[in-house]
């Protein structure tokens, strides 16, 4: 029951890695910080180009389609759409390389 030979899933089945189903509040805080970092980069690029009178289509598209950190719903900050999940949502940390890719928008209605 107790001690080194207790019956637990990792000891019985060998390799078992568990990923929590949701983010901790510290992970959420860091996620918000990263989102704000990307927002600031986009803003700096936009301001610098505006001063020179140049435009960049990719930048305009990003600004039109992507909400900033303040505009995003908590639902979209920490979870993402997945058609295989119950209620169509999974934690954003299930996304490979989730701290270094942008995942901001989800299908409308989900």
């Amino acid at each position: 029951m107790f001690g080194a030979f207790r019956v637990t899933s990792p000891l019985c089945g060998g390799l078992l890695w568990k990923t929590p189903w949701r983010l901790s509040r510290f992970q959420k805080a860091r996620q918000r910080k990263r989102l704000r970092g990307v927002d600031s980069v986009v803003e700096i690029l936009g301001n610098a180009l505006a001063k020179k009178g140049e435009t960049l289509k990719a930048l305009e598209t990003w600004k039109e389609t992507m909400p900033t950190e303040a505009e995003m719903l908590p639902k979209d900050k920490y979870t993402m759409f997945d058609r295989k999940e119950k209620r169509y949502r999974k934690g954003i940390h299930k996304l490979p390389k989730w701290t270094r890719v942008s995942q901001r928008v989800n299908p409308p209605g989900y």
Binding site: A48, E54, K97, R100
Partner: protein, 97 residues
């Protein structure tokens, strides 16, 4: 003429070859390396491709490697308030002899 000051903050290990290629094109090879590029739509487009990995600011001029090194240098821990002329040791020895 203003410049983008770009610092690689996050590593591109495990990211697509396209992303790593953009970093190579910007001249960023390792984390916390800083490069300067003149403000242009082309440079902005490249930064936009790697916006999750870099820290960017707009500066008036590009710093030289020497100035970058000075920026990183820690405080010496002492400050010279007034310079005192050095004593000339050789002359003193002559007098004693």
């Amino acid at each position: 003429m203003s410049y983008f000051r770009i610092t690689l903050h996050r590593s591109a290990i495990g990211l697509p070859q396209r992303t790593r290629g953009v970093l190579a094109a910007l001249g960023l090879r390792k984390r916390s390396q800083t490069v300067f590029h003149p403000v242009s739509a082309q440079a902005a487009g490249m930064i936009l491709k790697v916006k999750e990995l870099v820290k960017v600011s707009e500066v008036d001029r590009a710093l030289t490697p020497k100035e970058m090194r000075e920026e990183r240098k820690p405080e010496p821990g002492f400050w010279i308030e007034k310079a005192v002329p050095r004593r000339e040791v050789q002359e003193l020895q002559v007098i004693v002899l």
